[in-house]
Amino acid sequence: MTATLHSKDQSLALATEPDAGKRKLSTAKAIQEAISQRMARDESVFVIGEDVGPYGGIFSSTTGLIDRFGPERIIDTPISETAFIGLGIGAAVEGMRPIVELMFADFFGVCMDQIYNHMAKIHYESGGNVRVPMVLMTATGGGYGDGAQHSQCLWGTFAHLPGMKVVVPSNPYDAKGLMTAAIESDDPVVFMFHKGVMGLGWMAKNQRSIGAVPEEEYIVPIGKARVAREGTDVTIVTVSLSVHHSLDVAEKLEAEGISVEVIDLRSLVPLDREAIVRSVSKTGRLIVVDEDYQSFGLSGEVIAVVAEHDPSLLKRVSRVCVPDVPIPYAHELEFAVLPTPARIEAAVRDAVAT
């Protein structure tokens, strides 16, 4: 299967989810590579944001890009999120393909009007006559003691508001393919990477943040979930760093004869409802693991998908989320609210006990 490029380079078709091969990269390097390869082929692509230039992005999403493409296309900005996100919108409307980095998703509060009232609505308000092909890339997640204003996931907030695609990769392979797909998309895409999946040398990391990535460009379709692990007893539906934790728990419990299926949604918008229903149809037990806040968010939505389809499928349902409190600072408190492997394991044991 192939995807067609938007650009002049129509002769080059991109593979969809090719074999991973053997070369290993961190998620950060996979993102850099996706951007770099697109920029090499498409002059309309540029990166703009705070500290994306010589610093390479606070979480290494743009490391090295300025050396290859220079400050004309890898553009550091003042701390003016509204101005530079809006600039991305205007540039996209005029035919460019900006990748705009909002350093932390937590910072959306200072610039949300450009995001949800403009970036996300212009296509609809214009009756499809104006497209906004831009990527809003942003860091999410906690677990390293950064407190209430720098640790949130917030993807449910973006996904709640119509007009933005929302992708949340968990591993290097998906990150590269989803970034390529996001740049190629004619719609605005919010690309939310968890700091804990980037494979950064200065933060605790799961082994799954480094993995096999093809050297060539390819697409991971936006809106298609992945069965990260097959199982028969219980379904975990999750995203991002929680995929890593869920897989760790599944591996551990396999020895006890508990078979856990892990669904990595990869995108919140569009949401792969079929993948959720398909898995729960098999297992009858659903656990949603989400590092975003519990109420009014992804976890409730996933459960509603199954309930609306056929409530009788659900023998057991539960969720492991951040309870509705700000992310606390002290390590003991922070890890009391995060969806840790221990909390996920307890939820699985509880689900299969009946």
Partner: protein, 337 residues
């Protein structure tokens, strides 16, 4: 390139400015008529062929006409919640614009936008209902023009209330820093809905704020279309030639309420407002100086009326959107969630 000035403005050019202003006023009067037509006897904002808030631009025509005389369809312009005058002066076709205001399938946004959300790619015109938020996208359009090595420019029209928002300062700093080909035009109509400028703004002239960003600033004090023309001509020529942004403030006039239905009880100058109507003032000046004849003015009015009524007929006779089609256009690929 020598910027156009009032000295280079020909008689034909002057009649052109008046003609644009007359077309705008004729349009706003007709929209006002249609807006109220089916909201009687009791005013119900959601009733009738044109529901919702309606912010009309009567009195602010000199800003639109004076600026847009220097723009081509390839230049970009972002406007506010009060967008009709600049849309018309920018050259947005009246038929699809009016159809959008009437919520019809033939409208600019196929009925999805409404009067505060008009998007016309053919003239690079857009507007936003959120105060000051049209400025950052105009920067982006200017950025794209700069990177494409073209001489196209972007103009952002905002109100005086917007100059107290963070977007204004972020945007002007960035525009100045990168010498973007953008002109920011502040329409000072004295009122932020009901709050007078004296209660909202710390400086007498927002043009003074240009100094904070190291860019030229100019204030046009008397709502004169020719003064706007001159100031805009200089600013736009500077932007086109790589000289970077300019901030212009025009002291204009809100002839009618903030929106239709606004009784303006807060406004002490209400009785004297019509005396300042810029259209009769400019018309009389052109008549007096021999630039314009009575018959030319009558032709101007008749032509405006014909265009406007044609657009309204077109809108009224256009199909309404299919309610079953309400999910279309969230995304370009027809995948909506």
């Amino acid at each position: 390139m020598t910027p156009p000035t009032t000295k280079t403005l020909t008689d034909e050019g002057r009649r052109g400015l008046l003609s644009t202003m007359v077309l705008i006023r004729t349009y706003e009067e007709a929209i006002r008529r249609e807006y109220y037509a089916d909201k009687k006897p009791a005013f119900d904002i959601g009733a009738g062929l044109v529901p919702g808030e309606m912010h009309l631009s009567a009195g602010q025509e000199p800003v639109a006409a004076g600026i847009c005389a220097h723009l081509t369809p390839e230049d970009a312009l972002t406007a506010t919640h009060r967008p009709h005058h600049v849309a018309i002066a920018k050259g947005v076709a009246l038929r699809p614009m009016t159809a959008e205001i009437f919520g019809r399938q033939t409208g600019l946004g196929r009925g999805r936008g409404g009067h505060m959300h008009l998007f016309d790619p053919s003239t690079h015109f857009s507007c936003s209902g959120i105060i000051a938020e049209g400025l950052p996208p105009a920067l982006g359009q200017a950025f794209a023009f700069q990177r494409q090595r073209s001489d196209r420019v972007a103009v952002a029209v905002i109100g005086e209330g917007a100059a107290n928002k963070g977007e204004f300062h972020e945007s002007l700093n960035l525009a100045a820093l990168w010498k973007l080909p953008v002109v920011c035009v502040v329409e000072d109509n004295d009122w932020g809905i009901s709050v007078p400028r004296s209660h909202s703004t710390s400086v007498a002239s927002n043009a003074d704020r240009a100094a904070a960003y190291g860019i030229p600033g100019a204030r046009v004090e008397d709502n004169s279309v020719e003064a706007v023309y001159a100031a805009a001509g200089e600013a736009i020529a500077r932007a086109r030639s790589g000289g970077g942004p300019t901030l212009i403030e025009v002291h204009t006039l809100r002839l009618w309420g903030h929106f239709e239905g606004d009784a303006e009880g807060y406004r002490p100058d209400l009785e004297s407002v019509p005396e300042h109507d810029p259209i009769p003032i400019y018309r009389d000046r052109l008549l007096k100086t021999g630039v314009l004849t009575d018959s030319q003015y009558q032709v101007m009015q008749a032509s405006a009326s014909e265009q406007v009524e044609d657009a309204i007929d077109f809108a009224k006779n256009s199909p309404t959107p299919d309610p079953l089609d309400h999910l279309s256009y969230v995304f370009s690929e027809g995948v909506n969630s």
